[in-house]
Symmetry: D2
């Protein structure tokens, strides 16, 4: 399974049109699109609103990246109820202390494993149906706490009810996450395992699958593509004082109409008759 990080309705539609299997409603992408740092300042309901906008335009399962859960166990329980009711397939909670900073920028301390296990248990207790999943995201490797810490935490979180694990690493190769997967198997643990190859991007999804990944998440490429492209276009307009040189490099207005289904609109409206008169 391949998931792609999306940040708005358009990117959600594109992910679906390109055949990806799931949407990763990623904190970094959504915060960046919103214009705020990915540092725990976006509220739980702002994230939810962004996710709802994705849900409305794509049928793919959504995995919501909910940082460390936005607060204590009561906040986590309300969050699960709201996200499940909104049609989200899974939330991914990471074992950092609240408030968080993005994992790639120093970031903050690991949560106490027992406290985090309680969050997982509270999350699972809050869901109404059978299908909602809680993914526990392990930050041990990012925080430099090592593989043993990650494995101990994995066991505790699975005991608490976690349905899946996401093991995060910023190594340039998948050796860490591969070894994690192998040791997990060696312990007889069989559970969906997610990987995010942001730094070890030279390894293919197929290879990560062979290493033990159930799912690969391309967490933030659409927003990074959009940022670069929009910057370049604004640069060119500044340079040329027209948009002529960018016109062939960007989507057409008609592409915009197509991608959101303008042709699917019902159009035998009374006012269309008026229109025909008008244009006649």
């Amino acid at each position: 399974m391949r998931a792609v990080g999306v940040h708005d309705g358009l990117s959600a539609i594109l992910a679906q049109n390109h055949g990806f299997d799931a949407l990763w409603a990623g904190g970094l992408g959504i915060c960046t699109a919103t214009g705020v740092p990915d540092a725990g300042v976006l509220s739980m309901t702002e994230l939810l609103d962004a996710v709802v906008r994705m849900r409305r335009v794509s049928a793919l399962p959504i995995i919501a990246d909910v940082d460390s859960g936005f607060g204590d166990v009561n906040v986590v329980q309300r969050m699960v109820r709201l996200f499940e009711a909104a049609g989200v397939a899974a939330v991914c909670i990471e074992d950092k202390q609240y408030p968080k900073r993005n994992s790639f920028r120093g970031g903050n301390a690991l949560e106490d494993p027992a406290v985090f296990a309680r969050k997982i248990a509270a999350a699972k207790a809050a869901q109404a149906g059978d299908e909602f999943m809680v993914v526990a995201r392990l930050e041990s490797l990012i925080a430099g706490a090592g593989l043993d810490d990650a494995l101990q935490r994995a066991a505790a979180y699975l005991d608490a009810g976690a349905d899946a694990l996401l093991v995060h690493s910023r190594a340039r190769t998948p050796h860490e996450v591969g070894e994690f997967a192998e040791r997990l198997r060696a312990l007889g643990v069989s559970v969906p395992l997610f990987m995010i190859p942001t730094t070890y991007h030279r390894t293919t999804a197929r290879e990560l699958g062979e290493l033990g990944a159930s799912a690969v998440i391309y967490a933030n490429h659409p927003i990074r593509a959009a940022l670069r492209a929009m910057s370049d276009v604004l640069d060119q307009i500044n340079r040329d004082d027209t948009t002529t040189s960018v016109e062939t490099e960007i989507a057409t207005v008609n592409d915009l109409f197509q991608v959101v289904g303008t042709d699917d609109l019902l159009d035998d409206e009374p006012w269309l008759g008026l229109l025909e008169q008008e244009s006649a």
Copy 2:
């Protein structure tokens, strides 16, 4: 003055960083980013919410593209109060009947000029302060009703209190909008005049200024750039089964941090102390 059409917080920040003078909160861009057709289906408050997200991250004046005003005069008055209170500089109302379709796709009938003038008057009567502006957008040229119609409407809308005009055209050259500007001047009318060179993009902003434009609006280039770039990146990931080939073509994760001001965060928090211990 050059305004650029933006659709979210990130594009609003980029427009400001690139030295543009104003933000055009354009219906086509915002609808596309949301994933819905630009056909009157996005509600007034969904547009407002999108505009508020721009307002929070950019200090540039915002001109909101409010289609035909979302309903009758009472709806228009509430809309003006809400947008003005949200810190929007201007709304641009177009003289089409409700519900609308995007001007470039057939679109719907022109509104009766007297009915539309009442909308303008209602909008102006609703504003609380002195600075808020109501821009009347003339669709006569798009609808094929001709220059005389546009000029008669312009006079009626200015009489009703419009603070500025936007004359829209889908000609490949600016001859129509230039002639409109010239005849307006000949009538002794002096009013800010906006132009949107989507189709006559070979003419520079400077040249449009010489033709009489007070402001030029690049209405939808950022979203078009984003759509193309995101599609291309997803294509490449599909082709390669990794993101390696796209990594150098897109912004870095660090670029994402920079653009939203992550470095401006206050960071002498107690938990940072804990973090240092942890990483030690």
Copy 3:
């Protein structure tokens, strides 16, 4: 079945606690709580947001009062998708022209039956699951168009796919709605029929059931109770310069805690330990 008109989370909880069977998310109540006239100025998504707040705190089925559907068939289709996805059981669309005014204040013209039937058909075509219901609300009796008109419209709307009817009347007795029900039965039509005894309130729900009502809706009593009580309390505070005389007439602070389930919070949090130290 008895439904009660609610306007926020608290009233939704109370309706459930008092044993009612369904929530009527009524336009008049929600607009009044919001502070705007019930005249088509509240947007579709503002209504939806209010309904979502009810959905989050009550398990009762919600019937959303969506006026004439907020726009054309495309708006109606998007509305159905959004309300269904939000967990709403039914929308009730009335056969008035857009924009609407509240039925009791003159109000506006009846919609053309064929145009309205298209709205119903569009609504039904848009729903994703099998359980969502579209209720057609007949305003013929309010508009003075008579019983024959109501019956012809009922037939057309049922043909178009309506799952239920709401027949509205402002007579002081249920003779009109009773006769409507009887003639419907005489035509061999069997369909859920809703009644709103705002003006014919002397007739019990049981009696209305005998007349043919499948469901009775008390459309706006909670908001009317709240308005009167809040006004009275503010009057008394003004008169007395203290709240002493109102304290026994209003709920206690502890009642507020109880009604929203404060006792159900998980409270073995680490910080509670700190609290105990603090209070010791």
Copy 4:
């Protein structure tokens, strides 16, 4: 000055109509109306949305009760920017640790005074204009930490830039808050001082003014009145199976129209002409 705690648009309108000077956007009232416990589970932006709905319908200054500020200093700074931009006059931040519980239910530990002073300083540094106020709410008396603690904290918070103080107490008489005011004066400190006579309600606002209160806040009486009245009405409907007995005890439908300004709507719409034809 007298402020009254309001929770939605309607209560905000009523407070203004009854001559109060300011709106207290109180956490307990807003949480209860939303249907959630006042225990830190409502997000910052949910509170903001509720406040925006008040701002839209009342011209009174709004003091927003923002608990302990929803997070760290970066969250506090974003909160201040968002609330100020929304037209809020002041935020009142309390010196409890995050997450909070309502002060009357045990509640949680006092924040370290230096940490809280940093929050105040961060809040003041974030505001854009000159008029926005940050009120520091002292919970020392509620937490049993005593008057000396309250006074030391007051000094620290004022040093950090607080524009006003709110001293909270759950004593049955105003002796604590009066002594606090007196000792503050004795220290030569002159600053606006707010009091909330929820428990010492036998003392009039005038008397509290003589004791040193600059403003008195009736924090939650409208929601308490609404809860009781709605419960009673639903009880009666259950008992009687009609609404007849409640009709004279609650506001009329016409009262609902009046309070939100339905008569101020513009109504010379084209469709009204159609209506007159229709009703003729």
